[in-house]
Symmetry: C2
Subunit: 364 residues, 2 copies
């Protein structure tokens, strides 16, 4: 598997004999096996040349093999201590234990203690940054999965729009959207779905509730699904029945900002510039104080992943990156607009994977 | 606040000058403030006598105060390093830094490094076990919240039962249940809802899909909601239209096992015995090999929390504990039955908080 080989190359380059991978996301990325083991230990040891070792609860062993994993897998029962099996295996293969790579922001202090009891006195290095750098370039299978997830996000917006009628509540619309998505086989949303009406759309962290839809309201949808382990994330904003000049101006400013940022999306461009060009459009229109967040975030196995699309990011866009572009203007007490697409960097430019129309739509 | 005082008493008793609390659950338990800060740091320092210090992202500061938190709160912006503020505060109050309590299974290695750069050379002790012991006894507010969450779980089962008709799929029923719950204001299920038909109910880790309902099927529902930060969890199993003698025998065996375990639920009894009495009923009926999991789990802010209701647990039931009792029999390829209630230990016995009827019901 290319992904494992890439990590092994890095271990060789850095002179690190072993990496211990504990997060469900990175384990999925490297093994193809996706599960939430809850409090039970699931971990993968990757070595420079030797076969990796996958430790999972007994009940998962068959599933791991069914996934196509053809390296070693060690199962353990609930009454057994998996660290004893790990110790035995590591001692048997006799690798050097002077350095160990692990996920610093994920691995708990308790598990690090267990690991360092085996890799006694080892220097600890972080493997997360390298995994982020590998994961940031999506392969064709991943792009295909995200594309299908994005299509379901488009469908969710469509369901939401079709359900709008005067007096309906945010939660009723939200329930309808998720109902139709579940009927399409979606088991998990990539985050808590947002449906916000009127002044409530003016809070970028608003919570859907019993606010009823009235003419003149902004209607903001922000949602995504998890499909075969990959996420999508879309935001669309509409106006219900009657619109004010200010609403139209805010909407078109956000739309222009989004388009400017999309047009800057091609291999070789600086990531931070995508935030800057959108921010410039919004600032020039006089709304600079009402765009309080970064332009977007990388997306894949996690809905928020590497890279962070902030104006400070000096990294360069590369073919195969997938991220969101989501400028917004939020006027407290009045309302807000956000427009968000999932973007793929192609050989020569970009493709938006979410395709729901973006021209201002007044819903009658 | 009693909860903070209880933790402070423990710190004094153990001679530990400070505890750093990082999990959203324990922060919520101690502060009343519930949010998911994602990758941003949110942490609470508790000291023996001094006021606690709460560190949160800037955007949460007002919410924290609105929750009623009347101790110190330190906000930080995205471009600031919260550990610098922490260092400054800790140095200012001048407490001893020889020991620090933290959540060993939660705090990441990376954050532990940051913490130990401030508490340089400090001995690390685990605070989680003590917090589990505090959280295991629910107060009246908590019980009231769980009671309301359990009522919504009952309602979910009712919706599921009412939606059954020949040919409907598991996912369609699941979507209907969650739709109706969302209309009641539920924003989050406590875990991925399970609806399993026929032979699929024979896998305790089955996944709902496109299996259509047919006469003679078991229908297994397992679900719960999160309400105001607290969980519920119910399982009910039905038979659709025609039942076999074997199905009836399996059902009544599980029901008798569940009742036996409920009847053993009173203050002073050994927790492990609740598993044992249910296991004995199932083993005596000849199904001992088909009950592969523990009888239940503690429940509260987490859907699975302390105590683990396994036959090995020698702890004693105490008034105010809340846990699940959920025996099951699963025949691979044939089908399975599980019956689960949320149980509260009262002064003299128990009360089931989930109240949906449990007598065998053949759905016509």
């Amino acid at each position: 598997m290319t992904r494992l080989k890439n990590l092994q190359s890095w271990l060789k380059e850095k002179g690190v004999p072993a990496a211990f991978i504990n997060s469900t996301e990175n384990v999925f990325y490297l093994t193809g096996f996706l599960t939430n083991p809850h409090e039970r230990l699931m971990g993968l040891f990757v070595f420079q040349d030797m076969d990796p070792i996958f430790i999972v609860p007994n009940m998962e062993v068959n599933q791991v093999k069914a996934t196509g994993w053809n390296h070693e897998v060690i199962g353990y029962a609930d009454h057994e201590n998996p660290w004893e099996f790990i110790k035995e295996s590591i001692e048997k293969i006799g690798i050097s234990r002077n350095v160990i790579a692990l996920e610093k922001s994920v691995l708990s202090y308790g598990r690090t203690e267990e690991l360092l009891a085996i890799f006694n006195g080892a220097e600890v290095v972080d493997v997360e940054d390298q995994l982020n750098r590998l994961r940031v370039i999506k392969d064709e299978t991943e792009i295909d999965t995200i594309r299908r997830a994005a299509k379901l996000a488009d469908f969710g917006v469509e369901v939401g729009v079709n359900s709008l009628k005067e007096g309906i509540t945010e939660m009723e619309v939200l329930a309808t959207i998720e109902y139709e998505l579940k009927k399409q086989g979606v088991r998990e949303m990539s985050f808590s779905t947002m449906v916000l009406f009127g002044e409530k759309s003016g809070d970028p962290h608003g919570n859907p509730g019993n606010r009823q839809l009235r003419p003149g309201d902004f209607v903001l949808f922000d949602m995504g699904v998890v499909l075969d382990g990959y996420c999508s994330d879309i935001t669309r904003t509409f106006i219900y029945k009657s619109s004010s000049d200010e609403q139209v101006e805010i909407y078109n400013t956000v739309l222009n900002a989004q388009i400017a940022s999309l047009e800057a999306s091609k291999p070789g461009n600086r990531i931070g510039d995508l935030d800057q060009v959108a921010r410039d459009v919004i600032t020039d229109a006089g709304y600079g104080n009402y765009f309080p967040h970064r332009i977007g975030h990388g997306m894949g196995i996690n809905v928020h992943e590497f890279p962070s699309m902030s104006h400070l990011n000096n990294d360069i866009l590369l073919e195969g990156m997938v991220y969101t572009i989501e400028p917004g203007i939020y006027i407290p007490g009045v309302g807000g607009v956000r427009i968000e697409d999932d973007v793929l960097i192609t050989k020569e430019g970009y493709e938006t994977l979410t395709k729901y129309p973006k021209e201002l739509k007044i819903i009658e």
